[in-house]
């Protein structure tokens, strides 16, 4: 129904855009005024001879044009001077035809193979896949479409080799997966996050709308990433948004509605069982039982409403609807001179918890304008508004200062601190609480935390083709992130005796701006068999972050949640500004001979304000080469269609540390009170390191790309060795130093591994299928620790990790265990243990002693050892796509192997300090009556058996998961055309549907470092959706 839109009309919209937004007067166009002297007619077909409706037909160099009708025919009046017709259509190469003296011109147009995945987005450009010498993985909109992800990071798991992306929380607005490319290369304080660019600007994946993504490219090796120099050590992710293509206006709507379910959730025992077990713990500790038999009976029979049976965590996580929906409407089209893509998306995610939700609006607008024959203007704008809100613990130890996201996770902690014997509410309406913990009170109160986030990513790019070989371009980019956070602690009445208050409000505003200026010069030339490409560039980035916060208390009511309503006498505020800058010079040279021998060199020279003047600049070169063996005359293997060998080496840097690491800074806010008045204080609290410099990563990559069996099967195989040195690390200091210490360049880590990707495509009649399994391995080893032989770290007061040369990073560390002490006799006949074990306690193994052999005593010096690693040795995945007539089916499998996880504190053991509930699996325990040395739990006590780090809680965290499954049906074109549509597809899509794992019951194996005390389950989503094309 939009097919007959005339060219000028769409151009008008674009022009309006220029007027309004860019403020560049567009003077170069006017309505065609030439007299029409003759009429040309014809038909347009595709490569298979099918008639193509909607093809743009244009007289070259003018705005005069039309589109083909439903039968692929066109009719166009042209002036006497018209020489050439241009035929263009989405997904096809633009074709030019000389008019000559003809009045009827039929053409066949060819598909644009570049759009079929043959072109890969690389740093500062694109490259034909066959010519790539480095290691770049790319996935495209087709692999993203209709997956019900709320965060783009969730798309990565299983899709590409060498990338792991565990997601540890399903909390609306805070459910990003953490992406690791080729293992974690560093134990650095400089972070392990990949460098993300959206349309060439440094950004984050978090709020990008998946609907607007054309492709995601992952630069894995140094050859492909070194052009990003100091920021590329953890890999580079390039997101390219969709752009318009020549052709008539196309309108698409994609939407789904679905529901989220936890992938795993702990199963808790009822109150009467709890009471019995709690008594058992007290008895085990030589104390008196808390619950009498009569009370336990009341819990069991429910005769007294004050003796209830509550499952507070479950009630909390079923209090919300968990509904999720997404809507996307996009418009795209273009003529020879102007192409545009405009998209509007809305995502709504209701939490599993009441009053917890996330909303996101995304607007994407991209325009490409051919200003003149050799001048191209590109404009990209992405605007995002994200809003999340969540309940806040009204009171309790965490309540008063909650001003960060994740308060909903604190509710889980509160729910866990409340015994099942205490009801959420008593019959008289008062709230049950324990140490002020009541998740229900928090839900019912007016307390909230909300986050309003606004992101703008915009750039203007001008390219000037000085000659066909020489091109310069300039880009100005602007990224703006604003966060407006609000935390309100309402007054709340628990019961007649206890009312929390006064009400308190805190607002935080943060503004982050990043300005990028960049100039490129490119030279492309072919001399006979020699092809040369050269790129030179300069760029500069300056960033500024401004934060303010204000709080007041004593609000007159819970409804007035604006600062001015609070008491001015209670104002507390703060503000800070930080700045940093990066200046870079970079270049790339490519040379190929007969498209058979390919060479490439990249280099970047980066200067960062984060380093002292003497260490400020770093140089990051890379070299790569490829040999397309199958192009050689001597290569005569009939079943191999293409064979390419690749090798690369290069250096990358990491500067992603705090902004002022080398300056000696006096900390303010070290205040004290004299005479009842707060006086400002200052102190040196950190020992700076004035010698700090770059962290450097060197990657060697050897790879092979093969196509065989008439291109039905393709294989990509890579071996990589990644060595990171001068790791920016805070070397542990004895507490005796009295100061915290700064990052220093210490240590080296090796990651090496293999990556395999196979793709098999074929069809049997109407049935076509693609099977693409992938497998990656990575081995991580600490090589050096700045001369220290080991660094032992106590993590979150819960468990120990060690770093020592020869082992993986952050390996679990402690005593090996050998089940439980069955009885006193067992203790007496076993090696002496630290502490004073009793029957039912964990048995630590005597590994060694001063003489290198077991000495009959377990002690910290000789008997602690490496217990496992939380970094997977293997990641694997695979996609299966099936298509039969109008039905389609796809499944994405994903998994990790060779990895251990740990469960800690009250997630692992009931009655640990703070935790009170008992999970069903934990009832398999040592007891006086059943002194089973192989029970899953040691004797119950109040307190933590894991306090002495040991492998009792370390468990295999491997899994295989159905990450995504999609079944769709497209209504036949003949039917949908009749109702004015070009496409109508209905589908079911689900994520995290099924997991095979031996991990702890109730916990997702991706949560292998144990969920934090503040927990939100990982969710799976079940959706029904529709794709509409007009």
């Amino acid at each position: 129904m939009f097919k007959n839109l005339h060219y000028e009309r769409s151009s008008l919209g674009v022009r309006l855009f220029f007027y309004l937004v860019i403020l560049v007067p567009l003077l170069g166009y006017s309505h065609p005024g030439q007299a029409q002297e003759r009429i040309i007619t014809g038909k347009v077909t595709d490569e298979g001879g099918e008639l193509l409706p909607g093809v743009n037909v244009l007289v070259k160099g003018t705005a005069n044009g039309t589109v083909t009708d439903a039968s692929g025919a066109y009719q166009l009046g042209v002036s006497g001077g018209a020489e050439t017709l241009v035929f263009s259509f989405v997904g096809y190469l633009s074709t030019e035809v000389q008019i000559g003296g003809r009045s009827s011109i039929d053409v066949s147009i060819e598909p644009d193979v570049q759009l079929l995945g043959e072109v890969v987005v690389v740093g500062y450009g694109t490259q034909k896949k066959t010519n790539i010498t480095g290691s770049v993985a790319q996935f495209e909109s087709k692999q993203i479409e209709n997956r019900p992800v709320t965060n783009v990071t969730q798309l990565f798991a299983g899709q590409i080799t060498g990338v792991s992306a565990p997601q540890i929380s399903g909390e609306p607005g805070a459910d990003a997966a953490s992406i690791l490319i080729r293992g974690r290369g560093t134990f650095s304080g400089a972070g392990t996050e990949a460098f993300v660019l959206v349309d060439g600007l440094p950004s984050s994946l978090d709020n990008i709308d998946p609907n607007s993504i054309a492709s995601i490219s992952v630069l894995k090796d140094a050859a492909s990433a070194s052009i990003y120099g100091a920021r590329a050590a953890n890999g580079v992710i390039l997101v390219t948004t969709k752009r318009g293509r020549t052709g008539g206006l196309r309108v698409n709507y994609n939407g789904y509605v679905g529901v989220q379910k936890p992938t795993a959730f702990p199963d808790y025992v009822p109150s009467w069982e709890y009471a019995t077990l709690y008594n058992e713990a007290l008895l085990n500790m030589g104390q008196q039982p808390l619950y009498s038999d009569a009370e336990i009976q009341k819990y069991r029979d429910g005769s007294d409403p004050s003796y209830g049976n509550a499952n507070h965590p479950k009630e909390l996580f079923t209090s919300g609807s968990g509904l999720q929906s997404s809507h996307n409407l996009n418009f795209s089209g273009g003529s020879e001179n102007t192409k545009y893509f405009a998209s509007l998306s809305y995502l709504n995610q209701e939490g599993l918890v009441r009053r917890n939700e996330f909303d996101r609006y995304t607007l994407t607008f991209n325009v490409d304008q051919k200003v003149s024959k050799n001048l191209n203007l590109g404009v990209n704008i992405i605007g995002i508004k994200g809003f999340s809100t969540e309940p806040v613990p009204t009171a309790g130890p965490f309540g008063a200062n909650a001003s960060v996201a994740g308060t909903v996770r604190m509710l889980y902690q509160m729910a866990n601190l409340l015994r099942p014997t205490i009801p959420g509410r008593y019959p008289d309406g008062s709230y049950g609480y324990d140490g002020f913990n009541s998740s229900l009170a928090a839900l019912d109160s007016k307390s909230f935390h909300s986050e309003n986030k606004h992101d703008l990513i915009g750039s203007i790019n001008l390219g000037w083709d000085i000659t066909p070989a020489l091109k310069i371009s300039g880009k100005a980019g602007y990224v703006y992130n604003q966060g407006y956070f609000k935390t309100f602690n309402a007054t709340f009445k628990y019961n007649e005796n206890l009312t929390q208050g006064p009400a308190w409000l805190r607002e935080d505003i943060s503004n982050y701006t990043s300005v990028t200026l960049q100039s490129l010069i490119e030279y492309t030339r072919k001399f006979g068999d020699h092809s040369v490409y050269a790129l030179g560039g300069i760029s500069q980035q300056s960033d500024q972050s401004i934060r303010h916060n204000v709080s007041r208390s004593d609000f007159p009511s819970n409804e007035t949640t604006v600062l001015n309503a609070g008491s001015a006498a209670t104002v507390q505020n703060g503000g800070t500004i930080e700045e940093w800058g990066l200046r870079s010079y970079f270049g790339r040279v490519q040379y190929s001979f007969k498209d058979k021998y390919l060479f490439e060199a990249n280099a970047r020279y980066d200067g960062s304000s984060r380093f002292p003047v003497t260490k400020r600049y770093g140089f990051f070169p890379s070299f790569s080469a490829a040999w397309r063996v199958s192009e050689e005359p001597f290569f005569e293997v009939p079943w191999i269609d293409d064979l390419k060998l690749r090798a690369s080496w290069g250096e990358l840097g990491n500067q992603n540390i705090g902004n002022y690491p080398y300056q000696n800074i006096i900390s303010l806010g070290q205040n004290y009170i004299y005479g009842g008045v707060l006086v400002p204080g200052a102190a040196l609290t950190n020992l700076p390191n004035s010698e700090i410099s770059w962290e450097t990563t060197r990657i060697t990559d050897i790879g092979m790309d093969v196509s065989l069996l008439k291109n039905k099967l393709s294989l990509e195989i890579d071996y990589f060795s990644k060595k990171t040195s001068d790791i920016l690390y805070t070397v542990p200091a004895s507490h005796v130093l009295g100061l915290s210490t700064s990052l220093q360049n210490a240590g080296a880590v090796l990651n090496e591994g293999w990556e395999f990707l196979a793709t098999y495509r074929d069809n049997i009649g109407d049935f076509s299928y693609t099977i693409a399994p992938n497998f990656s391995s990575v081995r991580t080893e600490v090589l050096d620790l700045a001369g220290v032989d080991r660094i032992i770290t106590l993590v979150a007061n819960d468990y120990y990790t060690i770093m020592t040369p020869g082992e993986a990073m952050e390996a679990f560390y402690g005593y090996k265990t050998d089940g439980l002490f069955a009885n006193q006799n067992d203790i007496d006949n076993y090696a002496t243990q630290p502490g004073a074990p009793r029957p039912g306690d964990i048995k630590f193994v005597d590994i060694s002693g001063p003489n290198g052999v077991p000495d009959g005593a377990v002690d910290a010096e000789y008997d602690r050892t490496v217990l496992g690693s939380h970094f997977p040795k293997f990641t694997f995945g695979g996609t299966i796509d099936l298509q039969y007539k109008n039905f389609d089916f796809s499944v994405l499998l994903q998994g990790v192997g060779g990895v251990q996880g740990i469960l800690r504190r009250w997630r692992a053991q009931p009655f640990d300090d703070g935790g009170v509930n008992v999970q069903r699996w934990q009832t398999d325990r040592w007891t006086q009556e059943n002194p089973n040395p192989d029970a899953r739990m040691p004797r119950y006590t109040i307190g933590w058996h894991g306090g002495v780090a040991n492998d009792f809680w370390v468990i295999d965290a491997s899994y295989l998961r159905v990450k995504n499954l999609q079944v769709g049906y497209s209504i036949p074109a003949a039917v949908v055309n009749r109702i004015g549509l070009s496409r109508l597809r209905l589908y079911f899509s689900g994520s995290n549907l099924l997991t095979f794992s031996d991990y702890y019951e109730g916990y997702d194996p991706d949560q292998r470092l144990s969920p934090d005390a503040r927990f939100y389950p990982v969710t799976g989503v079940y959706t029904l959706g529709v794709n509409l094309g007009f």
Binding site: V24, G28, S30, G286, S292, V371, S372, L375, L377, A400, I460, L462, W464, I472, S473, G474, K475, Q518, Q540, S542, T576, E578, E579, R583, S609, R616, Y660, N664, I665, I666, Q670, N671, Y672, I673, Y674, G675, G676, V677, L678, G681, A682, A683, L684, L687, A733, S734, H735, V736, L737, G738, L739, T741, I792, L794, A836, D913, I942, G943, V948, A949
Partner: protein, 548 residues
């Protein structure tokens, strides 16, 4: 049209050129960024105002984020003794129940906070000379920093014995290889430091400076060091010099000394300062931790029956000697409160005391009471001392100070030093010391007349116990008297729950007092805490205390 196109093309070229020029601008200004909201060390130490800021930094504790600090949470930790009980199995109870290990996280934090405070003092002492200011004032400020430093060495030597002695800013490599200095050497250093500090400190301060150290505070910690090393003559002389200052006196009130209303009493020589503050950053957390559940506290500790029984009757006799004592009515007879009044000021007595107008009900059978034991009142005896009944706000924002040194301690320590040094005990000495303390108007206990040293000793020790309960002295006393392995190696009991122990649903002693827990203080081990395992892992020069 052509003209327009040209304009656009040229305009585009200009933009392009502009971008290029911006990028090619060779200045590195974009890379020269200095912190904007913090002070660089290069510009600090230039004025007296900055010196004052640095001094406040030395005193500062609440904003370090490290709660496990001896001064700011002293009472919470030091009453782990025969006075109180915390949840069994709780890590803090392990300090004294024979289960302490080198990976006790609280011990590590206590250790760390000592050295954090010492480093702040060292930094101040090392740099204050850079400031151009009045010499006397400089010396006074330096004395304050030296006082703070010595205070932390007092706690270090008390609990770990030998410890690294750090008197200057260390390099990382030095901190990671330092070894322990013998306790006696540290004491010698601290005594000389405190002597010098006292010489430069004022005896009194104007109201606006309240909270900063005065002369008597330095002398009092000097006295503690001397008592710890049993230099009784030296300690006696030190304490006498505080008395001779004549600026501190016993307050006629008792209860109010521990509340905001009485925090400026001249009896309080040194206290940690708090103010009411939203968010609790500069507020005392003590009442919140100790107040009963009904009143918005979390009742983290409870008194042991042993303490409650140590309060005499108003005839000045212990309960097992006094004819006034009636085990069935231990607090009141014939409408008369016949026990030492400090009992009623200190302990919420079950089914007897009221808090905010409500009777304190803690019997385990009283299922409707939010304060029932053993869950919400650990022992059946709640805490009243430090918990302000008249405060209506959130206890987490309470502004009352925590006293560290009171004149009462000075007088009792003076008497103890005189006694232990073998000086004759006269009635005059008793009247100038212990009898002032117990004779204050609000307490009004009969004077002590016992002058025989051996008989006086237990009386004096009991007086210290009841007078200074919850003020961070009892555990130190048990350790230095070498009785911790006796007093802390036993079964502990809470309030009485059964009139007839033979027919009681609870585990009780022969008089019906509620059994709580069996402590097993190890004589060979627990007099000292372990050096944290983390420190041993980092620094091979450190040795561990025996038994860990």
């Amino acid at each position: 049209m052509k003209t327009k196109n040209n304009i656009l093309i040229n305009g585009g070229r200009i933009v392009l050129l502009a971008l290029g020029v911006l990028s090619w601008n060779c200045s590195d200004d974009v890379l020269n960024n200095e912190p904007l909201d913090r002070i660089s060390e290069g510009t600090f130490w230039s004025s007296e105002a900055e010196a004052q800021m640095a001094l406040a930094g030395v005193y500062s504790h609440t904003s370090t984020g490290n709660e496990r600090d001896f001064l700011s949470y002293i009472a919470t930790f030091f009453e782990k003794s025969d006075n109180v009980f915390t949840l069994a199995g709780e890590i803090r109870e392990s300090f004294i129940d024979g289960k302490n290990t080198a990976i006790n996280g609280i011990i590590e934090q206590m250790w760390a906070s000592c050295y954090t405070r010492i480093a702040k003092a060292n930094y101040f002492i090392e740099n204050i000379d850079k400031v151009n200011m009045d010499e006397a004032e400089r010396n006074e400020m330096k004395a304050e920093a030296r006082f703070i430093r010595s205070v932390y060495y007092f706690y270090l030597t008390t609990h770990w014995g030998d410890a690294p002695l750090v008197t200057k800013m260390l390099k990382l490599s030095e901190a990671n290889s330092i070894s322990r200095t013998p306790k006696a050497k540290i004491a010698e250093f601290a005594i000389s430091e405190l002597t010098e500090a006292a010489a430069h400190l004022p005896a009194t301060r104007p109201g606006a400076e309240f909270g900063r150290v005065v002369k008597a505070a330095a002398l009092a910690f000097k006295g503690r060091f001397q008592m710890a090393k049993e230099d009784w003559a030296g300690a006696a002389a030190t304490y006498k010099s505080i008395i001779d200052l004549g600026v501190h006196a016993i307050d006629p009130q008792y209860e109010e000394l521990f509340l905001e209303v009485g925090e400026r009493s001249s009896e309080i020589i040194f206290s940690i300062q708090y103010i009411p503050a939203v968010g609790g950053k500069y507020s005392s957390q003590v009442p919140y931790r100790w107040a009963p559940y009904t009143a918005g506290g979390v009742s983290q500790i409870g008194f042991l029956n042993d303490l409650v029984e140590s309060y005499e009757c108003i005839d000045g006799l212990p309960i097992d000697e006094s004819p006034m004592y009636d085990p069935q009515n231990p607090y009141e007879a014939n409408g008369v409160r016949y026990r030492d009044p400090r009992l009623y000021y200190t302990v919420l007595l079950p089914n007897y005391s009221t808090f905010k107008g409500k009777k304190y009900v803690s019997h385990p059978d009283s299922t409707s009471s939010p304060d029932r034991m053993p869950q919400y009142s650990l022992t059946g005896y709640g805490v009243l001392k430090f918990v302000d009944e008249n405060y209506s706000g959130d206890f987490r924002t309470y502004g009352g100070d925590t006293p560290i040194i009171r004149y009462a301690e000075v007088l009792l320590s003076y008497l103890e030093s005189m006694l232990e040094s073998g000086q004759p005990i006269t009635q005059q000495l008793l009247d100038e010391t212990i009898n002032l303390v117990r004779g204050r108007a609000a307490v009004n206990m009969p004077p002590v007349t016992e002058t025989d040293p051996a008989s006086l000793r237990p009386i004096l020790r009991n007086e210290r116990r009841v007078e200074l309960v919850l003020e961070g002295v009892r555990l130190w006393d048990l350790l230095r008297w070498n009785v911790a392995h006796i007093n802390l190696d036993r079964r502990v009991y809470g309030a009485k729950v059964c009139p007839d122990p033979s027919d009681c649903g609870y585990q009780v002693d022969e008089e019906g007092y509620f059994f709580l827990y069996e402590r097993n203080f190890r004589e060979a081990v627990d007099y000292h805490w372990p050096i944290p395992q983390r420190e041993l892992d980092i620094n091979k020069s450190l040795t561990q205390n025996p038994g860990y």
